[in-house]
């Protein structure tokens, strides 16, 4: 019985913390599967968080309770436009993709804080009046035990994240577009020979990662942070990147990894209430996701194999 109690307190928090990571990690999967390394996930999340909060603050009176949903939609659109910068640099201008991603991170943070100071006159925005609220899912939350664990006091955005992970798997593995996208990431020249427009696919993939990163950032902002400042997004984007790799560049793997990271984070938050974890210094739980990622990469937890052409700009006509 004690274990069920523990699970009942951990699972909702784990779902709550993993949702932003899931969205962003899925974005990373799309981009990296097409062969574009995306260190800029962090910056895309910053952009998403900024836009989500600003939209929410500005239009809360107009749209009422629909505001948070519209905010994340607008954040996704703006971030995907912002990510075109990464696409132009790394696909068309053949820039080093890691460097371009680093620049995206600097730029998003600079722009976000600059505009915040410009529009609100201080380093952080006000608290939003229309965040996401946790809800009990009708009907499902009445199921004994499971209902309590998975469907009570949860955020609908968490279900959206899990749904999108399944959808991404379907798109990547069951549709012609997904096959094209993966082939571009594995062997762009062969894909090009077969009439696939490598540049177009990579642009679409990077923009998808922008949209999903924006979703992740805005969901984080509207469920956890509730305002925007330079310290809103600190490392969630990099953690999502870790989830992409830990999940072996597979949407469902990334989902699992993000859920696990969310679980590890929630453990470090509520460990004081759990008998056998209360004595473990928190630092072990906070660094667990990173240590595990290193172990996974080192080959102790199955081999993680990146898409073959990941990080290489495609130059038509070279061999």
């Amino acid at each position: 019985m004690a274990i069920i109690d523990v699970l009942q307190s951990i699972i909702p928090i784990a779902l709550f913390y993993s949702a932003p990571l899931i969205f962003t990690a899925l974005g990373g999967v799309f981009s990296e599967r097409s062969g574009v390394v995306n260190i800029g996930l962090e910056g895309l999340m910053v952009m998403g968080a900024f836009v989500g909060i600003v939209f929410n603050l500005t239009f809360a009176d107009v749209f009422g309770s629909f505001t948070p949903w519209l905010s994340i939609l607008v954040a996704a659109i703006v971030s995907s436009i912002f990510s075109i910068l990464h696409a132009v640099a790394s696909v068309s201008f053949r820039a080093d993709q890691v460097v371009s991603g680093v620049a995206i991170n600097f730029l998003a943070l600079g722009l976000g804080v600059f505009l915040t100071k410009q529009w609100y006159g201080k380093g952080q925005t006000d608290m939003v009046s229309q965040p996401f609220y946790s809800k009990n899912v009708p009907v499902l939350s009445d199921i004994p035990i499971i209902g309590e664990m998975f469907f009570s006091g949860a955020y609908y955005t968490s279900y959206l994240a899990i749904g999108l992970a399944v959808l991404s798997w379907f798109v990547l593995y069951k549709t012609p577009f997904g096959l094209q996208l993966r082939s571009v990431g594995e062997h762009p020249m062969a894909a090009d020979t077969n009439g696939i427009n490598v540049y177009k696919i990579r642009y679409i993939a990077v923009m998808l990662s922008g949209a999903l990163g924006g979703l992740g950032g805005s969901v984080f902002a509207l469920t956890i942070a509730l305002n925007f400042s330079g310290a809103t997004i600190v490392g969630q984007g990099f953690m999502s990147l870790a989830a992409v790799i830990f999940g072996k560049w597979h949407p469902l793997g990334a989902l699992g990894a993000a859920l696990f990271f969310g679980f590890a984070q929630s453990l470090s938050i509520i460990s004081a209430n759990i008998p056998f974890l209360a004595d473990v210094p928190k630092v072990y739980l906070t660094i667990a996701p990173y240590v595990l990622t290193i172990l996974a990469l080192a080959g102790f937890i199955g081999r993680a194999e990146a898409p073959k052409a990941n990080g290489d700009p495609y130059i038509k006509g070279t061999r």
Binding site: A95, F106, F238
Partner: protein, 348 residues
């Protein structure tokens, strides 16, 4: 045709000019006077001896993190983990500096060496995994950054202090701060570290250009397969390069711990010294001399920016945007080359 050397010089200069121009356009479009903004920035970096001292203080760790990133780049490695190496170096320096009693000529070098060693250790693991398992160093170093951040906070709270949010202060025998520099610069936090940073730049230049192991590093960076065929030990070179790179970054941590601050506060977020080092190295073309120049530029931008809100009303984050754009332009040097070549052709 432009020579390659001229290109390598032109690309960073054009990038900086484009970045500053973009910054001016942003200031203009938000209703600020760009000229006033940049004058405020200039005065903020050189306006009086205090600002000047602070600028040099900021340049010191930038040179070292820039060298760290540049050194790894030269052997084909991307050390995005300078950030974590700075943090562990800082911890090590402060730990040795505050917990040991010794005369200065032993204590200070010992604390500095401890920082270099800690940074080197933090570089060793990614290097080892890259060499032995072929794991990409970027991901490992990012993870190592977070581990460094959290472990250092734990250390500060539980080992180098009595449960406080800042570490104990380093002893005077391990301090880089100097009274006469402070008096000269109206009590800025400038310290002797700048001398060490410049010496390290010379060391890096010497290793890369005048020793056979430097030749091997560069060869591995250009083409690991050819280097292996030529009988070089590629794995050893990868590991050694990350170790040296990590040691440079660790020294940057010592600058902060023994010079600027004299202690280590617990960090809720990164110091950004390591990340800025990437920009410094890129702009400096990954050479020792270029890195020093670029470190001065970024130090001036960063410290000068602090004067912009008070003197011209411009938020200091404008400089972050300018720096980001400079990195973009340097990274996209292909397009700059292409445009330059087109212009050249049309002249003919």
């Amino acid at each position: 045709m432009f020579s390659n050397r001229l290109f390598n010089l032109l690309v960073p200069i054009i990038s900086v000019l484009l970045g500053l121009l973009a910054g001016a356009i942003i200031m203009f479009s938000f209703g600020y006077n760009p000229v006033e903004g940049y004058i405020a920035l200039w005065n903020g970096a050189f306006g009086n001896s205090y600002f000047f001292g602070e600028t040099i203080r900021q340049v010191t760790p930038y040179i070292l993190t820039g060298l760290a990133v540049a050194f790894a780049f030269r052997s084909g490695l991307f050390n995005i983990g300078a950030e974590g190496q700075v943090i562990v170096g800082w911890v090590a320096a402060v730990w040795v500096g505050s917990s040991i009693e010794a005369p200065m000529f032993i204590h200070l070098p010992l604390a500095i060496l401890a920082a270099a060693f800690a940074g080197a250790l933090w570089g060793f693991l990614p290097g080892l995994l890259k060499a032995v398992k072929g794991v990409h160093e970027v991901i490992i170093t990012i993870m190592m950054n977070y581990i460094a951040l959290h472990v250092s906070n734990y250390m500060i709270r539980n080992v180098i202090s009595d449960g406080g949010d800042t570490s104990n202060r380093v002893a005077d025998t391990a301090s880089l701060a100097s009274n006469w520099i402070m008096e000269m610069t109206s009590y800025s936090r400038m310290h002797y570290g700048i001398i060490l940073a410049i010496i390290m730049a010379v060391v890096m230049w010497f290793i890369l250009e005048k020793t056979s192991s430097g030749y091997e590093f560069k060869a591995v960076g250009f083409n690991p397969h050819a280097s292996k065929y030529a009988g070089m030990n590629v794995k050893k070179n990868i590991i050694l390069s990350m170790v040296i790179s990590g040691a440079f970054a660790g020294l940057a941590g010592a600058m902060e711990g023994l010079g600027t601050f004299g202690y280590m506060p617990s960090h809720s977020a990164f110091t950004n010294l390591g990340f800025d080092g990437i920009a410094v190295a890129l702009l400096g073309g990954n050479t020792a001399f270029g890195t020093v120049i670029a470190a001065f530029l970024f130090g001036i931008l960063k410290i000068g920016a602090l004067n912009m809100p008070t003197s011209a009303g411009v938020p200091s984050e404008l400089v972050e945007i300018v720096i980001a754009l400079i990195i973009f332009f340097v990274a996209s040097s292909y397009i700059i080359r292409w445009v330059l070549l087109r212009l050249r052709k049309e002249e003919k």
